[in-house]
């Protein structure tokens, strides 16, 4: 213990994010006997069983529908159609617009979330009066469901009785009410604003937790060495939280991609499909009964996100090793 805590102080960020030292691996290998292996198996088993039965089985069973003609309205012919469902999707006139909307939705939501969330976490790290009270309020969006947030903002963006128009008019920004959710250009802005409002909290919470796991000793050591604020941020804070930050961003991208709730509640994909992203479009097709096409769309999402995750994780890894 004593030796280790010394190492923490001297090496700082390395011990937090670097891959295990060779010596540590060696030690671990020696202890990896049958008894340990059985314990590990027992530790992993419950998670594997639950996820296997209730997530993987239905997912795989659902995936095969993508290659079949599977329409709830007519189940007499559920023959295999190969890539037919995919081709039908790619050829449909809405597809291009939906892909574009999805990109706008993900990027437009994520970037402000990271920036504001990170700033918030930095400001909240240091103790100040009313901090815990402040946190209880600022983390409030996190407690609200996506569907409910959609409803909240649908009401606030209401053209006639909405508070957003009222405030904007009072402030003199606009002359007459904007029909936010009925006007193509504005509807996407409105749903993204709702999503940013929701997601900032998540980033703030995760980054704050990571920040607080960084040892104060490191900051003290940095201060003794005369590091300035910017230097401390880039040389100590960011490396120390890079694993958490990187994983949080990855998960968040995946979630925003897969998060139809807000849009579904606010606009239902309208007006004129202008706010349909891939997953809301999938709900629409599912409700129309075409499980085959919906499933094909789902597989496209999975494939896209997998590619993204692989490249992202590959981009993250060398940064860790070099340090």
């Amino acid at each position: 213990m004593a030796i280790n805590s010394e190492r923490m102080v001297v090496r700082g960020p390395n011990t937090v994010t670097a891959p295990p030292q060779p010596q540590a691996i060696h030690r671990r290998k020696k202890r990896f006997n049958t008894r340990t292996a059985l314990t590990l198996l027992a530790f992993m088993a419950p998670a594997a069983i639950f996820v296997g039965i209730f997530t993987y089985y239905p997912m795989i069973a659902g995936s095969q529908m993508a290659f079949r003609n599977w329409n709830l309205n007519d189940l007499s012919d559920t023959s295999w159609v190969g890539w037919g469902n995919f081709i039908k999707l790619f050829e449909s006139p809405e597809f291009g617009g939906i892909v574009r909307n999805t990109v706008v939705w993900v990027v437009g939501s994520l970037v402000p979330q990271v920036v504001i969330g990170f700033a918030l976490a930095l400001f909240l790290k240091r103790r100040f009066r009313f901090r815990s009270g402040y946190q209880a309020f600022i983390f409030f969006p996190w407690a609200v469901s996506g569907f409910l947030i959609g409803m909240l903002f649908r009401w606030m963006f209401n053209a006639e009785f909405g508070v957003v128009n009222d405030l904007l008019m009072k402030a003199g920004f606009i002359e007459s009410p904007i029909p936010w959710l009925a006007e193509p250009g504005f509807a996407m802005t409105a749903v993204i604003i709702a999503n940013i409002w929701y997601g900032v909290t998540f980033f703030a919470i995760m980054i704050l937790a990571a920040l607080q796991s960084v040892s104060e000793d490191m900051y003290e050591a940095a201060a003794l060495d005369g590091a300035g604020k910017a230097r401390t941020l880039f040389s100590i804070t960011l490396p120390a939280i890079s694993v958490t930050l990187g994983l949080t961003i990855l998960l968040r991208v995946i979630w925003i991609f897969n998060f139809p709730d807000i849009i579904w509640a606010m606009t239902g994909g309208g007006p004129a499909d202008q706010t349909h992203i891939i997953t809301t479009y999938m709900i629409k097709i599912t409700q129309e009964g075409d499980y085959g096409q919906a499933s094909a769309l789902g597989l496209i999402v999975v494939f896209t996100l997998m590619l993204f995750a692989v490249f992202y994780l590959m981009a993250m890894r060398p940064r860790k090793a070099n340090r």
Partner: protein, 278 residues
């Protein structure tokens, strides 16, 4: 970070934090105000930023016209049980994934990450059929089992991150002192990681409390509905009763907010502050 903040830093901090607070809280404020207006005065211009006279009619209607109390109890039960079990199971799997480099470790991580990428709608149909065969449709047990399964992957990934911030030497020292692995995990690591564990639990709870699509699919009878399912029912095709909706929204948000306020203390604590110095 021992030095004092500059005046500029302090002012920008106050401005930034106040702005965030106003923007964050305003929708809550607005929905509370809407819920306290008499049903008729919700749709009257100019807008009132405080109800002219406070009316609880929307709330009373919620409990008399619908079985909202019942829905709240259902949600509370399902979310509490599912979140507790899921956090416990994830703690074990996260520990293994963080501490041991075995063959297939990468595959397990990918398998967990993959569940986050797959839109749930693919699985909905087959899940419903499977649950019917297992006689778990329209049952709280069934919903809890599914919720546990959807919580585990993310919870494991997040807890693994927290484990990796705790030095190995901590439980190794405990095991040299004669603790078993399980004892070392729960006596030594869990206390150090309490903020992370609390954050994970709350996250699971709030997710289950808010889950909509699975609950709509699996719970048929009115007495088994959870809150989100009931809320979805307030939207008829062309008309939304904003009075009931806002009252229900307030009642939905308050418990989730309460559990969060209670536990935010844990999240704020340093995760490893004690461990490094020990």
């Amino acid at each position: 970070m021992i030095d004092k903040q500059s005046t500029f830093g302090r002012i920008s901090k106050v401005i930034f934090l106040s702005l965030c607070l106003i923007v964050t809280v305003f929708p809550l404020y607005w929905i509370v105000v809407t819920s306290l207006k008499a049903p008729g005065s919700i749709y009257s211009l100019p807008l009132d930023y405080w109800p002219r006279e406070i009316s609880f009619e929307n709330y009373v209607g919620l409990f008399t016209k619908s079985d909202f109390g019942r829905y709240m109890i259902n949600s509370l039960l399902v979310a509490t049980v599912a979140a507790t079990v899921a956090t416990f199971i994830s703690l074990l799997s996260a520990y293994v994934l963080a501490r041991f480099h075995f063959a297939g470790r990468g595959a397990v991580m990918v398998a967990f990450l993959l569940t986050q990428m797959i839109p749930g709608f693919i699985a909905l149909g087959p899940l419903y059929i499977m649950m019917t065969n297992m006689n778990l449709v329209d049952s709280e047990t069934g919903l809890i089992l599914v919720y546990i399964a959807i919580c585990i992957p993310f919870c494991t990934i997040m807890l693994r991150g927290f484990f990796e911030n705790v030095p190995d030497a901590l439980e190794e020292a405990a095991m040299i002192d004669g603790c078993s692995r399980l004892t070392a995990l729960f006596r030594v690591l869990v206390p150090v990681m309490l903020p992370g564990i609390a954050a994970s639990f709350i996250f699971n709870f709030v997710n289950c409390w808010n889950e909509l699509f699975l609950s709509v699919t699996l719970m048929n009878s009115d007495e088994n509905k959870t809150i989100p399912t009931a809320l979805a029912g307030f939207i008829s095709s062309f008309n939304i009763d904003w009075g009931s909706m806002s009252a229900a929204a307030v009642l939905t948000v308050v418990p989730a907010l309460a559990i969060f306020a209670f536990a935010s203390k844990f999240i704020v604590q340093g995760l490893t502050a004690g461990a490094v110095k020990g």
